[in-house]
Each structure stands twice: as structure tokens, then as C-alpha cells.
């Protein structure tokens, strides 16, 4: 569990993080979304006690990070790609950290295997690809078998295999009851991995909502309809909450009416349909819509 209360970080005149209050809960994957420079990394660094907040507090599992006697058991973090000494082997990197943190050596082999790096454990990190370095970073984060996992841009530089690995791993860690907090600017990845979203823009909290609700609120779901008599059909679908758009001839995007109703009305009027597809707004669209008008919203209800 990560609890941020009025968290603020000022660099000179610039507010990198501006009065952020949010709780990241265990058992679900929480995505941390925002454009570059939104303050995501700074927030994560304050959670880890690496940067000092200008104001406010960041609690991890009920305490400030630095007050934990066994910090790596509490939080495992991947904060930047390739925070690895190029001249050291993968195993030496993990062994050193395990010794420093008082963790058993057996954990080193466990996380090497978990990250699929057993075969290259004795290779110097300087020869690693970006993806292998990222896997070692994740292995480092999991070294202490932590209750809370913080991953900053973990899929950066990973091949499709690696992306799938991170996604599966994040979901499994959450299913084990851990708190999983991971940032990305790849919104499509977020949409499939995260159950809950915390969105930041220009240092401020923009949204703290379940992923589905975020998508719904930001544009709502719609139905794509293809018909040779599209214009005629559009006339039948009018209503108070109904919006009908047409981006190309013969294709309608209908919001506010479920697909069943669109199909039934078309059938009643004897209009042939060539396509009837429910579509979800993309996270990208949702995010753009949200940050464009600087709208701010939060929900108090949290997922079970």
C-alpha cells in the first residue's frame, strides 16, 4: 500500500509534483499514467525516500520508506533503465545488493530465474541488450520479495515477448496480494494491464479511477455501424443522449445507444447492416480528452 498525502516537490520555481493525494491499494495493478515531465518519476523517487518532499508525506505499507528496518522486503523498485554497473555480472550485481540488504543468497538465483536470466548470470552487464538490462532491473526490484512493487516504465525497450512477460508478472504479483504500481506512457499497454489508473499531468493529479471508468468517462463506449443506408439510419437514432458521427460515407459512430437497440431499429426499418461493432474509446483518446480541457476529477469509490 502506498499513501500519498499532499505530496509536493519543488525544484526552484518549478512545481514538479503539486499537492498529490492518492492511495495505491494492494491486490490490483495500478497504472501511473502521464506525459513525460508530468512528475511520475519524481513521485516514485519520493515514495522510495530518494528525494525529499518539499511538503506532504509518502507512506509505504503504513510508514515513511526510510523508517522501515527491512526496506527491500517492503518495496522493490525499478526506477531507471540500466541502473547497473557495466563491468559487473548480473549475479554479482544481485549478490552485492542481497548482502547489503541482509537477504539470503538463494533469492539471487530465484529472481534470476524469474527474469529468465539464469543463462547469462555470469555475463557482464555491459554486454546486455536494453531488454536484458530491463529484465535485470525487474529482478533487482523483486530481490526482497517485496509487498509493494514500484516499476517506472518497465516495458521500455522490451520486445513483444518481454512486454507480455511484464504484463503477466504484474498481474501475478497483484494476484498474490501485492501492491503493484507501474508507470508508462504507452497507453495501450496500460489499458490491458492496469485495473486502476492514477493519472498525472503537469505535476497535478488528474484522475484516480478504475481503468474501465476512465475510458467510459473520457468518451464513452460507442457502436460502429456500416450500412448502405447509413444516413437514413442516423435519422432513426435520435435521442437526448445520443450522438451520431460519421467519419466516412456509409459508416456511423453512435454513442449513447447500445448495439442491440441500433440493430433492432435497423431491422424494424428494414435497413441492411454490414457491420455492427461495439467500440471502446482508446486510453490515448481518453487521456487527450482529459488533459486537453484540464478537467479534474476523482472518484471516491475504489475497486474491491
Amino acid at each position: 500500500m502506498i499513501e500519498l498525502h499532499g505530496l509536493t516537490k519543488r525544484y526552484g520555481e518549478r512545481l514538479a509534483v503539486d499537492d498529490v493525494t492518492v492511495t495505491v491499494r494492494p491486490g490490483v495493478v495500478t497504472g501511473f499514467l502521464g506525459p513525460n515531465g508530468a512528475g511520475k518519476s519524481t513521485t516514485m523517487r519520493m515514495v522510495l525516500g530518494l528525494d525529499r518532499p518539499t511538503a506532504g508525506t509518502a507512506l509505504v505499507n503504513g510508514r515513511p520508506y526510510a523508517e522501515h528496518r527491512d526496506p527491500l522486503r517492503q518495496v522493490g523498485a525499478l526506477l531507471e533503465a540500466r541502473a547497473l554497473h557495466p563491468g559487473r555480472t548480473a549475479r554479482a550485481h544481485l549478490l552485492a545488493l542481497a548482502a547489503t540488504a541482509g537477504l539470503p543468497r538463494a533469492r539471487v538465483d530465484t529472481v534470476l530465474e524469474l527474469a529468465g536470466l539464469t543463462a547469462v548470470a555470469g555475463t557482464r552487464v555491459g554486454g546486455f541488450s536494453l531488454g536484458m538490462g530491463q529484465r535485470l532491473g525487474v529482478a533487482t526490484a523483486l530481490l526482497g520479495d517485496p509487498a509493494t512493487v514500484v516499476l517506472d516504465e518497465p516495458v521500455n525497450g522490451l520486445d513483444p515477448d518481454g512486454v507480455l512477460w511484464i504484463r503477466t508478472l504484474a498481474r501475478r504479483l497483484a494476484a498474490e496480494g501485492r501492491t503493484v504500481f507501474f508507470s508508462s506512457h504507452l497507453m495501450a499497454e496500460m489499458a490491458v494491464t492496469a485495473d486502476h489508473l492514477v493519472v498525472m499531468g503537469r505535476g497535478r493529479l488528474v484522475a484516480d479511477v478504475p481503468t474501465a471508468e476512465f475510458l467510459h468517462r473520457a468518451g464513452g463506449d460507442g457502436v460502429r455501424v456500416r450500412s448502405p443506408r447509413a444516413t437514413e439510419l442516423a435519422g432513426l437514432l435520435t435521442g437526448p443522449d445520443v450522438v451520431v458521427e460519421s467519419a466516412e460515407r456509409g459508416v456511423l459512430l453512435v454513442r449513447g445507444v447500445p448495439a442491440e437497440v441500433v440493430g433492432d431499429r435497423a431491422a424494424q426499418a428494414g435497413i441492411a447492416l454490414h457491420e455492427l461493432t461495439p467500440v471502446q474509446a482508446s486510453l490515448e483518446e481518453a487521456f487527450m480528452a482529459l488533459t486537453a480541457d484540464e478537467r479534474e476529477y476523482r472518484t471516491e469509490e475504489q475497486p474491491a
Binding site: A66, R73, A83, T100, G102, A106
Partner: protein, 268 residues
């Protein structure tokens, strides 16, 4: 997760911190290159100076590194320390700045949020390594020198053992000075340049100061003060051997304390 862990049994301990730094130091090839290179350089330079002593030094003109008295076989045998201090000081710098430039220092601080024990462990481990290697280096240099040149004073003679072992202590202190500079400057180039300036450049520049008060300044420089420990006899312009070494240790202590203070107040 195949290995279940208890909590909070898994916490940073002194032994663990030292072991972690030992793994960090030994897992880099550069550590071994520097240690072996310094050992070899010390012994070979000692051999060069002692074997050419009769003909006035390597250049035949009685030249040599500053501060080397060609009339004293003991000083000749140990003259290689001049080169070794460069390499070992750089080792002290690298073991700290290497963690900064690669970013691994942040995972270390994440494991030890209080941070100051990391500074202590990162001083203790290279310090111990260098103390062992430099002691071997000065003893071997002394033995080689004794075999090559006539008139080498015996280890039992006044001050000789102090000079031989003091060379190792001096080199250890310079390594720790490098470590402190590494913490304070966080950049390899900056810390190495500062170290060279302190150890080599300032004593030379100090020599250009007026004779009236110049020596009073020069003897307070880290390498001049610590260098007193490596002299059989000291002049009125120099600190007494152990006093001088204490001054050098004072610089090391101030440097490391400043490093700890900065870590407390600055973001990692």
C-alpha cells in the same frame, strides 16, 4: 516466489554491508588491475631506483620524483609509492563514482535509507584491501631494495619499520581521500582531477611561495603532512611523522563527514 522470507529479520547489518561492498569491489576488473598494477609498480620502481643508485639515479643526473633523497637507500626502495598513490587514490574515487555514474547507488540507498553506513562500508572495504596490498608492496620493495643496494638500514633500526609500514598507511589514507572526494563530487573526472591537484600540484605550487611563510603552508598539504611518516628524519619545516599522518587522517575524516552531511541534505 519460491523462497519465502521472514520480516523484519532481513535487515541491513554491519557484516552484510561490508560483504556487499566486498562483492561490489571484487566484481569489477578495474579493482584488480589497480591493486596488482600498484603492487608491481611500487616494487619495480623501487628496483629501478635502487639498482641505479650508484650511477646517480635512472637519468644518471641524480634526478627522480620530487622528495626522493638519492642518498637514502630506504627512500629509494620505497619511491614507487609516488606512482602507487595515484592509482590507489583513483581506485578510491572509482569505487564511489562508479556507483553514481551507473546509478546503482540508488538501489544501495534504497536498501540502506540511512545512507551513512554505506559511506562507512565503502571506505572500510577499499581501505582494508589497499592496506593489505600496500603493506605487501612496501615490504617486498624493502626486501628487493636490500638485496640490490648496499647500506640499506635494517628493519630494527630507528624509524625504519615505521617508514616501511607507514608507506602502506599513507597509501590507505590517500585511497580514503579519493573515496571522500568521490562522494563529494560524484563525478570521476572531477574527483580524480581534485585528488591530483591536492596530492601533486599544490606541493609544487607551494614551492613557489616566499621562503618566509611558504613552508608553513606547504606542510599542511595532505601529501606533505602525510609524507612526514615516510621520512626517516624530518626537518623543522615538516610535521613530526605521526603528527603529519594525523593531519592527513584529519583531512580524510573531514572529507567523509562532509560526504555524510551532504547525503543527508541532498536528493540521491
Amino acid at each position: 516466489m519460491t523462497t519465502a522470507l521472514d520480516t523484519p529479520r532481513h535487515t541491513a547489518t554491519t557484516t552484510g554491508l561490508l560483504r556487499g561492498e566486498w562483492v561490489r569491489a571484487r566484481s569489477l576488473r578495474s579493482t584488480w588491475y589497480v591493486l596488482v598494477g600498484s603492487l608491481a609498480g611500487m616494487v619495480l620502481l623501487g628496483l629501478l631506483f635502487t639498482s641505479t643508485a650508484d650511477t646517480g639515479g635512472p637519468s644518471g643526473r641524480g634526478g627522480g620524483p620530487p622528495g626522493v633523497d638519492f642518498a637514502q637507500p630506504l627512500t629509494l626502495a620505497l619511491a614507487g609509492y609516488n606512482l602507487a598513490q595515484l592509482a590507489l587514490g583513483v581506485l578510491g574515487v572509482l569505487l564511489v563514482t562508479g556507483e553514481y555514474t551507473s546509478g546503482t547507488i540508488r538501489s544501495t540507498f534504497a536498501a540502506v535509507p540511512r545512507r551513512w553506513p554505506v559511506v562507512a562500508a565503502k571506505a572500510a572495504v577499499p581501505g582494508a584491501l589497499v592496506l593489505v596490498v600496500a603493506t605487501a608492496g612496501s615490504l617486498v620493495s624493502y626486501a628487493v631494495g636490500s638485496a640490490v643496494v648496499d647500506g640499506m638500514p635494517g628493519l630494527g633500526e630507528d624509524g625504519v619499520l615505521r617508514v616501511v609500514l607507514g608507506t602502506a598507511l599513507y597509501l590507505t589514507a590517500i585511497t580514503l581521500l579519493g573515496s571522500a572526494l568521490g562522494w563529494l563530487l560524484r563525478s570521476t573526472a572531477g574527483a580524480v582531477a581534485t585528488l591530483f591537484g591536492l596530492v601533486f600540484l599544490l606541493p609544487v605550487l607551494g614551492g613557489l611561495l616566499p621562503a618566509g611563510w611558504g613552508p608553513d603552508v606547504v606542510r599542511w598539504l595532505p601529501s606533505s603532512a602525510g609524507g612526514s611518516l615516510l621520512r626517516l628524519t624530518t626537518t623543522a619545516d615538516q610535521f613530526a611523522p605521526w603528527t603529519g599522518f594525523a593531519v592527513l587522517l584529519g583531512y580524510v575524516a573531514v572529507g567523509l563527514a562532509a560526504a555524510v552531511w551532504r547525503l543527508r541534505t541532498r536528493d540521491a
